[in-house]
Symmetry: C2
Subunit: 516 residues, 2 copies
């Protein structure tokens, strides 16, 4: 039995002291991350250049379909692209020249200026899961999401220390008609948290309503001069954009709001079975989409995004957290930096149906690469389950615990005099123990991330307490977090104006989603 | 609902095809890894230099205790160190000068030459958990380990594709008297697998018996000229080596066998609460231990190791997979490379009592950094549970699945013509699907790591199949792996000679472990 297996525990005094210190710590909301780590470039320059070259070849030879959006085709024609029907072939290098007007970095303004976040450079911003139609928790099981669920996830995100931004809709409120749902979603973001947020992007109309509601909240003049929303625009891989997304893209860009261009590519389904092939396709789509934002309004803020996975060769189902996905996340960040735009990828993706070891392995192998790669906006970083079909309350708790750990990791190693701790080593000397030494006592509270959900007790104690898995312990934590939520409030006049706008729009809009 | 949440599944034909392809794949044993990734250096040069400077200050000012081993003290005195009692203060720079004779890289020879492994440079070698007194599985629960358990873990390691080396004793056979146990352990390594292995290091006598048994297996002349064993030597942090470990270290080095010097440092207990402080202490201990190997026999192979974690400030219990541990793993590898010796760290460490999400998060946040940092010997990479007190059969299955994925990741992105897949993108075109295209068909079997345990089925299918967690599915996998084991055989004459030696030694040795 090696020393590596012998668990050393302090005496009862040390334990009491440790518990007292822990109780006095209230997890405070953290600002977005400024990374103090070197950025990991996993691909060689040669590999990146091959991908870049192939992306331009795809744009030039195969082209991109811009479907059911004549205005996009008009813009491309005017810019010198070869437009035949809805197929747009783009001369080599044109997209890059157009994208040069997009900002390398920009600020997204939250209604609470202290919660504004930065995209680009050394900034990393964590945002929760977006898009699932289902929710699950251990009490109620798996079910369709409701507006009440969305409110709860916004509150949880508002409370979680390392969630910096409300990106995407944590869960679709399926109890609200699809044609009017975006109003409730956008209002919920604005009302129940003072974090920055995305704008509803499903259709041009939804995007327009989001921009108008932002105008009510921030003032129209402010919105035209500042980014207060991000619109998440998915291409329809391979090599296609649909009319809804194109209209929404133009709507956000026209109003100087941020656009994220995000191909969703599962290798073997929407892309080739090889990561280098997927990345060339993905980059081609991003180049085309980002260039379009600049054709609409030069200087409009834009982000290069990727949502990557692979399909199982056994069942054809999506897989996440595999080596291929890890490589593609690193590649995405390198490609975006060379292009000079901020990058979105991430976050805590998994295929598992419950918050078990599979979910955690897959999520960790997505999240840690995302941080090391220097991704600026980490979407889907908490609560994601089952390929994104489910927002899980327990998974949310487990993920935000990991996010807080990532935030510590991103600070790099402290080599100040405090960090070097030479006096502690001198004080303790050979064969001693550090728990009681002056340096430990002085740095007790600040030392280490305190997990909200990990269990470090003995096997005997863990057994006495019911042998709970991490998922089971997380069930109590999200309930506690909801109790901790404090409403940030909203100026009553603006709140009323938002509600008035929504009532008017509800009366105008059909229940069904507008046609493409 | 964004496209990122919409799971695309191929039709029934695609699924059938995928299943047929998967069945024909038998997971083959993989050679050890030659990394084709850039090595991640997370610490700045300035930070590394601070740690190196402080390590020398510790050696010079505070010194290291070499307890109950007069021969070590004699060697240090002769080398010019300041020896008072058992405290050895070592002049700045002396250790580095001594370590210069250690090889930068070396081969550990397995009895099957095709299974020999390399330590140093771009080599990465995965080895399973070592040291636990307990085993657990979902059928039998947690219990003391037996020799039969050890045999099973050796067989599982022999079968698992991405286990390259038998490092450490996967579980202590507690049913064998402690004073004689090493004989059964060493024999089991030699007999039930043809992978390379460590030597029993608990006492000088155990180390000597391991070397003698290796002499029987490989021939004494071969052993003197080639490394066939590694001895894992733990310091007794802070700043202490005990007599047993020192005697074993000298035994291995004298016979030109590899020595791993491994401080086991949990920040806040055996080291300061700050990672930079721990690393200075850890480096000081490694420098002293590695230098001693070269005082014993210049040129003897040696590895710089670290086993790192932190204690919980709430309970004083060990924690793994935290940001501090991640930083220390990266730092260990950087320090070893600058010193010019191979590095051991790793692997799949966790504190959790079961193979749940906590176990997986903690393990992944240890394993991925270990690979990216360029660690050469990744110990404890499969089966580790509960701070190393337990070797878990299910955790072993989950971990070796991750190891195989890491082995894919380590190959880097394929940017050959196959990897670029431009023809596939041309063939499929905008709006198509890649599953049926020629490139996918041609690369079907080689594409992606096929997980042995992840579940990618639909929620409905997963529910029908009993809603099993990854841990529950792993229970069936290790039983199947044991069935797949094929005895590699052993030359009967050597086998008999080994058994004879063991019988003789058993008669000579007391049941209790020899005194320090």
């Amino acid at each position: 039995m090696s020393r590596e297996s012998v668990i050393q525990r302090p005496g009862r005094g040390g334990q009491r002291e440790a518990r007292r210190a822990a109780r006095s710590q209230r997890a405070a909301k953290l600002p977005y991350i400024r990374r103090r780590l070197p950025t990991v470039e996993l691909l060689s320059d040669e590999a990146v250049e091959v991908i870049e070259h192939n992306a331009e070849t795809i744009l030039e030879e195969i082209g991109i379909e811009f479907r059911r959006d004549p205005e996009s085709l008009r813009l491309w024609r005017a810019a010198g692209a070869d437009v035949r029907g809805e197929r747009v072939r783009i001369p080599r290098g044109l997209c890059r020249r157009l994208i040069a007007t997009a900002p390398r970095e920009f600020t997204l303004h939250a209604r609470n200026p202290g919660r504004s976040v930065r995209f680009g450079g050394d900034a990393t911003v964590f945002s929760p899961v977006g898009g699932p139609p289902f929710v699950s928790d251990l009490d109620g099981g798996r079910r369709y999401g409701t507006l009440a669920d969305l409110h709860r996830f916004i509150r949880l995100s508002h409370v979680a220390p390392a969630i910096h931004f409300l990106g995407g809709c944590m869960v679709e409120p399926m109890d609200v008609p699809e044609g009017k749902r975006h109003l409730d979603v956008q209002y919920a973001f604005f009302r129940h948290s003072d974090l920055g947020c995305e704008g509803t992007p499903e259709t041009p109309g939804h995007a327009a309503d989001a921009v108008r509601m932002a105008g009510i909240l921030f003032g129209d003049d402010f919105v035209d001069g500042h980014c207060v929303l991000l619109g998440n625009i998915n291409s329809n891989s391979p090599l296609t954009f649909d009319g809804r997304m194109l209209g929404a893209l133009r709507e956000f860009a026209e109003h100087n709001q941020g656009v994220i261009v995000v191909p969703a590519v599962l290798a073997g389904a929407m892309g080739p079975v090889t990561p280098a092939g997927c990345m060339a396709e993905l980059l081609a789509e991003c180049l085309a989409g980002l260039a379009l934002t600049q054709l609409v309004r030069p200087g409009a803020p834009a982000i290069l995004g990727s949502f990557v996975g692979a399909i199982s060769m056994r069942t054809g189902a999506p897989t996440f957290g595999t080596a291929e996905a890890t490589q593609m996340i690193f590649a995405t960040a390198q490609l975006a930096r060379r292009l000079g735009v901020p990058v979105r990828s991430g976050g805590s993706l998994c295929s598992s149906k419950c918050a078990d070891a599979q979910a955690a392995y897959e999520s960790a192998h997505t999240l840690l690469p995302t941080l090391l790669a220097g991704v600026n906006l980490v979407t889907h970083s908490a609560g994601w389950l089952e390929g994104g079909l489910v927002a899980s309350y327990e998974k949310f708790v487990l993920d935000v615990d990991q996010l807080a750990m990532m935030q510590v990791l991103a600070q790099g190693m402290d080599v100040s005099e405090r960090g070097q701790a030479l006096d502690a080593i001198r004080e303790v000397g050979p064969g001693g123990h550090f728990l009681g030494c002056a340096h430990t006592q002085a740095n007790f509270e600040a030392a280490f991330h305190q997990s909200s959900v990990a269990d470090y007790s003995s096997y005997e104690q863990w057994s006495q307490e019911g042998r709970l898995t991490a998922e089971q312990r997380a069930n109590a934590v999200w309930k506690r977090m909801l109790e901790e939520y404090v409403d940030p409030g909203l100026d009553p006049a603006r709140d009323e104006a938002l509600l008035e706008f929504m009532a008017k729009r509800r009366a105008e809009l059909p229940d069904a989603l507008e046609e493409d």
